[in-house]
């Protein structure tokens, strides 16, 4: 990262003052939940930050050792509560991997549909909240307006607006109600032009670019070393997406779907003629790129939803029945990572042959993504701390579990 001393905007760099410890959080609005950061500052310059986590710790893994595999689904909702569908899927697939169970084709396409809608909803919150972090309120309202419509669709499908428990081990709890697909298509049609608004509000906004371009640059090597994943990893130019590179049971879900991983290759993003150009100041791996990858994924998910609607509608048969609550799992262990909106969410199920897992482990993407924050914030300005932490798009429910 470019040193603050080289920054022409900072005139009084050589003025040394006393070091001060500044406490930020756990109720600070720009920490995305109950995250506490301790900042060691010298004037405006941050020399060190230390995240303190665990305020939301419920030991969900211990709870998982006392419930059957399907009963644990509602607890996965409460991990990444902004993308609960994707959390449900992660756990369901991990158990299905252990049980060598395959869901019906119709259920498979419905899962893609729901999860990609969930990804749009999650990225909308990420985008809106990131605007808040940087001091602009309107994008938040624009994002939540559209997210509400997705939540309405989810509510109609499963009855809940936040903690769905819709995808479950062995399939889904219910099929879609009649007329749902038409509503979903209507939503997509009206949502598509709105993405331009988002680009006008944030992506190309001069102030936004100034606040994010070349700030918090995460190198490719560092991103891999810290176990970053999802948009944080792809924003650093690592071409990895579990939907394409993951294990067979997960990639089979996306079999036949056409999508291009949102990552910069040879200086270009996929289909970048349709999007605003990368600002001249932006450096690969900075806050702007992490944000932009999310924006690209919104469009990518929209494409995937469109594809899955057709496939779901033309698939024969039913979505099948979910497994019984007490269906026994074979002895053994299975680890599966899925591409949740915030990164690779891994679930590890260990069974001794009962319906209750011996050990249920959740590998959280935000946990690893946040662990890189101290490295990114070394030598930045105080005002850049929310910009950097916000660009990681963390959710505390998932970190603290």
């Amino acid at each position: 990262m470019a040193s603050v001393a080289d920054d022409p905007r900072i005139i009084e760099f050589d003025v040394r003052t006393d070091e001060m410890l500044v406490n930020m959080g756990p109720q600070h609005p720009s920490t995305h939940g109950v995250l506490r950061l301790v900042l060691r500052t010298d004037g405006e310059i941050v020399s060190e930050i230390e995240p303190h986590i665990g305020y939301l710790h419920r030991c969900a893994e211990k709870i998982g050792e006392n419930l059957t595999h399907r009963q644990f689904i509602p607890y996965t909702d409460r991990m990444d509560y902004l993308a609960a569908m994707n959390m449900n899927l992660g756990w369901a697939l991990a158990v299905e991997k252990l049980m060598k169970y395959e869901v019906s084709e119709k259920a498979r396409h419905l899962r893609v549909l729901i999860c990609e809608l969930g990804r749009i909803a999650s990225h909308l919150v990420g985008m809106g909240a990131y605007g808040l972090d940087l001091g602009t309120f309107s994008p938040f309202l624009y994002a939540f307006r559209e997210r509400e419509k997705i939540l309405d669709l989810f509510e109609e499908a499963c009855g809940a607006r936040l903690t769905y428990s819709y995808i479950t081990v062995g399939g889904l709890t219910a099929d879609l109600p009649p007329g749902w697909l038409a509503k979903c298509e209507k939503f997509l049609d009206q949502f598509e032009p709105i993405i331009k608004e988002y680009h006008a509000l944030l992506t190309t906004n001069a102030i936004f670019v100034k606040r994010t371009a070349a700030i918090g640059v995460l190198s490719r090597e560092m991103a891999i070393d810290y176990g970053c994943s999802g948009p944080v990893l792809r924003g650093s130019g690592v071409d990895q997406d579990m939907r394409r590179d993951g294990e067979a049971i997960y990639t089979a879900m996306y079999d036949g779907y056409a999508f291009e991983v949102a990552v910069m290759k040879d200086g270009h993003y996929p289909r970048d003629h349709e999007y605003p150009p990368v600002p001249a100041d932006a450096v690969l791996g900075d806050c702007w790129h992490r944000f932009f990858v999310r924006m690209l994924e919104v469009v990518q998910s929209m494409d995937l939803v469109r594809q899955s609607i057709d496939r779901y509608a033309s698939a024969k048969g039913t979505i099948g029945e979910p497994l019984k609550l007490t269906e026994k799992m074979p002895a053994g262990d299975a680890y599966l990572e899925t591409e949740a909106p915030k990164g690779q969410m891994g679930f590890y199920v260990v069974s001794d042959g009962a319906a209750i897992p011996w050990r249920a482990r959740a590998r959280s993407s935000s946990f690893s993504n946040l662990s890189v924050a101290p490295e990114l914030c070394k030598g930045c300005l105080i005002a850049d701390v929310p910009a950097i932490v916000g660009s990681l798009d963390i959710v505390m429910g998932e970190i603290d579990r």
């Binding site: 986590i53 665990g54 710790h57 030991c59 893994e61 211990k62 991997k97 252990l98 560092m222 891999i224 070393d225 810290y226 176990g227 690592v238 990895q240 590179d245 294990e247 053994g332 262990d333 299975a334 680890y335 990572e337 690779q344 891994g346 590890y348 260990v350 001794d352 011996w358 050990r359 482990r361 590998r363 946990f367 690893s368 662990s371 490295e375 603290d400 579990r401």
Partner: protein
């Protein structure tokens, strides 16, 4: 990739480090002698033909049955199992390492077992090992900053141990 040829190379580079394998499991795994885990991980990251440049997950599993009636029926001896999920971003393959540790160091209850830390190999191991220390009670020797991460600093016990009992009271808050 994860087949016998790869294991032979590992065995040739670090003789005696591999103590067992199970290649027909859902996630094929290699069992490593706990005291050599950091060495094996270093080899896998820097010298192996497939460079495992990322560690996704570090976990401990407590194999202990608190109920004496059920404990008489189980096939295993009580122990703590460390599981490392490695990932290669270049080759897009994963690898699972397992280590077997005693539940308590020297069989003295309360003395948590030790294993070398792999933070020197992957930076992401830092927080993961702190979490395992906090929740499962494993001491990582050579870890730069081994503190509790999710539980409060003055919390007692390690919640993911099977014989853990929730405290009756914590700073005036009723526990159970």
């Amino acid at each position: 990739m994860r087949g016998p040829a790869f294991l032979e190379q590992l065995e040739a580079a670090l003789p005696g480090a591999v103590t067992g394998t199970k290649l027909d499991a859902l996630d094929p795994w290699v069992e490593v002698a706990p005291e050599r885990i950091a060495e094996v991980c270093g080899w896998l990251k820097h010298k192996s033909p497939v460079r495992f440049d990322a560690i996704e997950c570090i976990t401990a599993i407590d194999w202990f049955e608190p109920d004496p009636k059920k404990a008489a029926k189980v096939a295993w001896q009580p122990h703590l199992e460390m599981v490392y999920h490695l990932w290669s971003t270049g080759s897009r393959v994963s690898l699972v390492l397992k280590c077997s540790l005693p539940r308590w160091k020297g069989d003295v209850p309360g003395q948590i077992p030790e294993i070398p830390s792999v933070t020197g190999v992957w930076r992401s191991a830092d927080w993961h090992e702190r979490e395992v220390y906090d929740l499962s009670g494993v001491l990582f020797t050579g870890h730069p900053d081994l503190r509790r991460i999710l539980c409060p600093e003055d919390w007692e016990g390690h919640p993911l141990r099977k014989d853990y009992e929730m405290p009756l009271e914590y700073h005036g808050i009723r526990g159970r």
